[in-house]
């Protein structure tokens, strides 16, 4: 699924990364807990989160996440957006809550990371 399709499905606003909408996403995961994201996130993941501080972007960068969707209409602050630009991590904001946003993506064919959890 491309970021463009994800943007459309979630009626999301592109905060950074308008030139990266053709990029393909293979799997996604949702959590507000960065400890979980670090433990279970996989390279190339689309991260859905309600945590908007700089740690959300730093964590995404550390695990090689491909993009971040902030749920519940949340957005990172200026520092966070600057960090996302530096690390070239596209960021979106959707008004859907976490469960609905994940459900929409899953029901349209974007799997969760749990399917590949045995790989390091």
């Amino acid at each position: 699924m491309t970021l463009k399709e994800i943007k459309k499905l979630l009626q999301a606003e592109v905060i950074y990364g308008i030139d990266k909408l053709e990029e393909e996403i293979q799997w996604a995961g949702g959590s507000d807990l960065m400890s979980d994201v670090l433990a279970f996130g996989k390279p190339g993941i689309l991260l859905l989160t309600g945590l908007t501080n700089a740690q959300s972007i730093r964590t995404a960068n550390i695990i090689d996440a491909k993009a971040i969707v902030y749920v519940r209409g949340k957005k990172p602050d200026k520092e966070g957006i600057k960090l996302a630009r530096e690390k070239e991590i596209p960021i979106f904001s959707t008004k859907y809550m976490m469960y609905t946003a994940c459900g929409l993506l899953f029901s349209h064919g974007l799997p969760g990371v749990s399917k590949i959890q045995n790989n390091k």
């Binding site: 807990l33 959300s56 964590t59 390091k120």
Partner: protein, 148 residues
């Protein structure tokens, strides 16, 4: 700094500075990327280092983190000045945490940090003196033949 035996770099981490938390591990990731290390090795190193850095920020007063890279392995050493860990065996259990609400609001403190460092390392040593501090030694081999 480069030495005949590889590359060594030293970083300082300040406890309680949540604004800068993650900067050292992000820098280490960039260094390894510039050198051209395999992306899976970089990712494992970055995750282990980030977890260690967050532990310092959350619990310790300050720490020194040393990156040492040789042709065969990456070594990360973190020595902190802090409260130390009373019972390492218990602290290594997934889910055990002494985190405060502030730490949890930052998205951390789920009791997964130390187990996740161990998971991403090929060798992991931890020692601690309550009231003084904790020392972590993380090793990740560059040649993964026969390793994790």
């Amino acid at each position: 700094m480069s030495t005949e035996n590889g590359l060594s770099k030293r970083f300082e981490i300040t406890g309680g500075d949540f604004g800068k938390a993650g900067e050292v591990s992000t820098k280490i990731k960039e260094i390894l990327q510039e050198i051209g290390i395999d992306s899976t090795i970089i990712r494992r190193t970055a995750i282990a280092t980030y977890e260690a850095e967050m532990n310092v920020v959350m619990y310790a007063k300050k720490a020194e983190l040393t990156l040492h890279l040789t042709p065969t392995k990456i070594s990360i050493r973190v020595y902190d000045e802090g409260p130390g860990i009373e019972n390492i065996e218990v602290a290594m259990q997934e889910g055990f945490s002494t985190a405060t609400d502030e730490m949890r609001e930052m998205g951390f403190g789920a009791g997964l940090g130390l187990p996740n460092i161990k998971k991403n390392a090929d060798r992991f040593k931890i020692s601690s003196t309550p009231g003084k501090g904790t020392a972590l030694d993380i090793t990740i081999y560059l040649n993964q033949a026969g390793k994790k």
